[in-house]
């Protein structure tokens, strides 16, 4: 199994956008994870005397309004953004994929019910859901995560159902039905492994959307709250000083862009590799 994965992975590196996207994402994730154990400076110590310090050997990217080290803030902020996006994708997959599989496998009224529920959830952008949750429970990173997660549910349910429908028409599914397997067993044994690549591609794209959504929610004050930090929150705090100290906003902005683009490029690359219809070099079947 591991050699197969490795093979698939190495062949992906021939694809330039995948290679670039993967490297950028990997660096940013490593950078975020590093903040768990080490940052150049503590992010919760305020040193107003040293505010708006210019970049120097001690503070590579300078300091902010409270004299906190911007590099350390970026690392911690990237971690918050990543954590929110990853858990939101997890929420979406854990609830959405089974719903999609159930809809495709069961059909009939249950499928219609799930599809209408999907449409209903899909009609609310993450921001509306976040506002509702914030009104009820107050703003926090966890609530942002739940809001984005709810937004992800119908996305994954649709992708899973679409993929599963095409698998359900195949002979090996009929063979499994003849073997007496029940709908959920077929969904887990045969359908899920065969739509996994679709789901992985979608997860990469939802991850980048999640980072963007977290930044947006924190920026309007519905997400992460101080003294925690996130990339969106850093943008919000830098806004007041933008004319005097533009670098305060540019650093978190660039990090968000790099993150989102890296993940998108990686997702597109993966999709190209996995969808034979899109790959140009796809082995022509001419030896007939």
């Amino acid at each position: 199994m591991s050699t197969r994965l490795l093979k698939a992975f190495s062949s992906n590196f021939a694809h330039p956008s995948f290679a670039i996207g993967f490297c950028v994402s990997l660096i940013l994730v490593a950078f975020a994870l590093l903040s768990l154990v080490w940052t150049p400076h503590a992010t919760d110590i305020v040193n107003v005397a040293n505010r708006f310090a210019a970049p120097s050997g001690n503070h590579w990217f300078g300091t902010d309004f409270f004299g906190r080290d911007i590099l350390s803030m970026l690392m911690a902020g990237a971690l918050t953004s990543l954590r929110v996006a990853v858990l939101a994708v997890a929420i979406g997959m854990v609830i959405g994929v089974p719903l999609g599989l159930l809809a495709a496998g069961h059909g009939g009224w249950l499928e219609r019910l799930i599809l209408r529920f999907n449409d209903f959830v899909f009609a609310f952008p993450a921001i509306i859901t976040a506002i509702i949750i914030t009104t009820l429970f107050g703003p926090s990173a966890i609530n942002a995560m739940i809001a984005i997660g709810i937004f992800n549910i119908p996305v994954f349910a649709r992708v899973a159902r679409g993929g599963a429908l095409s698998i359900w028409t195949l002979d090996y599914v009929d063979a499994a039905r003849l073997s007496g397997l029940r709908v959920w067993q077929i969904s887990v044994r045969h359908v899920l492994p065969n739509i996994l690549s679709l789901l992985i591609v979608q997860a990469t794209i939802q991850l980048s959307l999640g980072i963007l959504a977290e930044a947006g929610l924190s920026y309007i004050g519905l997400g992460t709250q101080p003294p925690e930090t996130s990339l969106g929150l850093m943008l919000k705090e830098a806004q007041s000083f933008f004319l005097a100290y533009p670098m305060q906003a540019i650093w978190p902005g660039v990090t968000i862009i790099a993150f989102v683009m890296g993940l998108n490029l990686m997702g597109d690359g993966l999709r190209d590799q996995m969808d034979p219809k899109l790959s140009k070099a796809g082995g022509m079947n001419v030896t007939g």
């Binding site: 195949l170 002979d171 090996y172 009929d174 063979a175 499994a176 039905r177 003849l178 073997s179 007496g180 397997l181 067993q185 044994r189 045969h190 492994p193 065969n194 022509m284 001419v286 030896t287 007939g288």
Partner: protein, 528 residues
């Protein structure tokens, strides 16, 4: 002087040689057949003549044409950069897949017009397009139809009209009838034959079906794994093949005498089907009541233990729908099935779990019937879900026995499906169906997707298994020769109804129903 000539043509992809040192010659007005199994390099030969080889192909050898004047082309120069005016003009081509060979967004007349505009602009008139359609036996109003409005046979005729539009001296037909059912196939082959004669056009007909080639061609080239095995006049090749490979192909294409059956028939039928009906509801417009389309109309028949019942009919006649209802895969809208003491159907609901283990099925496509992400071992153990009473050792024994019965060994089972050939997969599919030792096996075109030379092996295997275990077979096929070889009784279906039934020899020798006569007439035997 030959019209087209290939000399020492070699094509390789990387270090894989797919055609080696092929010599082939087509005289003006001659009908040449190119026969071989999948992967033998037949299509590559056609693509070389059309200068349509994929870019990664490394080619060597020489190609000669003498249309208006003699030309010689160094095969290594083939490619888009080469000045190659013959494609679509002096050389026309008909492709295998009528679904994808036409542009779905263009009316058929416009597609024919496109070829005319490129190669015979003076002929690009409505009258000429209609004349071309008439030549391929299509009415003039087909000009304004889109491809999805045509049947497979009609699409293939349009493809032929497009190939003829450039007034080619050489027509290449690459498996033009393989995707069609028997009756349509016969029609298209007769049409190509007539047109080639009338136009005095040379034909290169590529097929895996020796019968089709025998019906059309006066010369046959036999390819095996990229090498020319044998060539010569059709009669000589078919009547006294010299090489072992050709002998095998010829033997496989001839109907073999039926082995004698030694089984005794039981008194009570194993399977009794009463008035089984399947309908699909279709709605044309939102406000209309959905009107039912009947796929199977009140099918009634019996099948005894140890018997083989054939089910034949043109494509879309409801053979597969009927078998899926019996296997419990699809619900019935009316009627019932009595099977081995169990009852199910419209009123009784779906198949009881206890009956499941007594019915299994082998599908047509050996490539689609295994989960590509599941090891063979797991796929073969899957049916044993139905026998929870078996211990782990007994399960292992069952699988080992099934594998050995089909002539494979258990040490291949760690592989994934892609590592097996088509013939091996079909054996494995039979093994999977055997694991439960069912009383009834439904075989849905079990050999149609296989190369001719391995069909015989698979049929012999099925026969042996029946002798040993006394299973009943419901054998679905459109290939009448195969049906005659393996079945005791036969039923003929058309438009969802069983129109004729009886002992296989009676039905085939003295057909009553119109469709049976048509099916029998459409047969292409290499003896005729």
């Amino acid at each position: 002087m030959s019209l087209a000539k290939l000399e020492q043509l070699t094509v390789r992809f990387g270090d894989r040689e797919v055609l080696s040192r092929l010599d082939l010659e087509i005289q003006p007005g001659a009908q040449v057949g190119l026969v071989g199994e999948s992967g033998s390099g037949k299509s590559l030969t056609a693509l070389t003549l059309m200068n349509l080889l994929p870019e990664r192909a490394e080619v060597s050898g020489e190609i000669g044409f003498s249309f208006d004047q003699r030309t010689k082309i160094d095969a290594a120069q083939l490619g888009e950069d080469l000045n190659f005016p013959y494609r679509g003009a002096q050389i026309g081509m008909v492709f295998q897949e009528p679904m994808t060979a036409l542009n779905p967004l263009m009316r058929t007349g416009d597609q024919i017009g496109e070829v005319l505009a490129l190669h015979r602009p003076e002929n690009n008139t409505k009258a000429h397009i209609e004349a071309l359609l008439a030549e391929v036996d299509l009415p003039a109003h087909m000009r304004t139809r889109y491809p999805h409005e045509l049947s497979g046979g009609q699409r293939q005729r349009v493809g032929l009209a497009m190939a003829l539009a450039g007034e080619p001296a050489l027509l290449i037909a690459d498996e033009p009838t393989s995707a069609l059912d028997m009756i349509t196939q016969r029609g298209v082959i007769d049409l190509i034959k007539r047109i080639a004669r009338e136009r005095k056009m040379a034909l290169l007909f590529i097929s895996h079906d020796l019968g089709a080639v025998a019906a059309l061609c006066d010369q046959i080239y036999v390819l095996e794994k990229g090498k020319l095995v044998e060539h010569g006049p059709s009669q000589a090749i078919l009547q006294s093949p010299q090489q072992a490979y050709t002998k095998r192909l010829v033997a496989a294409a001839k109907p073999t005498p039926r082995p004698a059956f030694t089984r005794t028939k039981s008194a009570t039928p194993l399977l009794q089907v009463n008035g089984l009906t399947r309908q699909f509801r279709q709605r044309r417009w939102l406000w209309q009541r959905p009107s039912p389309v009947t796929a199977v109309d009140a099918a009634t028949f019996e099948l005894h233990a140890g018997e083989t019942l054939g089910l034949v009919g043109p494509s879309g006649c409801g053979k597969t729908s009927l078998s899926r209802m019996i296997a419990g895969l699809d619900p019935a809208q009316a009627g019932e099935v009595h099977f081995d003491g169990h009852r199910f159907g419209h009123k009784q609901g779906s198949m009881p779990r206890a009956a499941r283990r007594e019915i299994s099925m082998v599908f047509q496509d050996p490539f689609g019937s295994f989960d590509p992400r599941m090891r063979m071992r797991d796929a073969l153990f899957e049916p044993l879900h139905l026998m929870p009473e078996l211990s782990a050792e007994q399960r292992q024994e069952r699988v080992t026995e099934a594998i050995e019965r089909v002539g494979l060994s258990t040490d291949m089972l760690g592989r994934y499906p892609h590592a097996f050939s088509g013939g091996q997969r079909q054996r494995l599919a039979i093994a999977r169906a055997m694991v439960l030792k069912p009383k009834l096996m439904i075989l849905d075109e079990p050999v149609s997707a296989l190369d001719v030379s391995i069909r015989g092996d698979v049929l012999a295997l099925l026969h042996d298994l029946q002798e040993k275990f006394g299973m009943a077979y419901l054998f679905i096929s459109h290939d009448l020769d195969v049906v005659r070889t393996v079945t005791d009784r036969v039923m003929v279906m058309n438009h969802g109804q069983i129109v004729e039934r009886g002992k296989v020899d009676d039905v085939f020798d003295r057909p009553q129903a119109e469709i049976t006569k048509k099916l029998l007439d459409a047969r292409l035997t290499i003896l005729g």
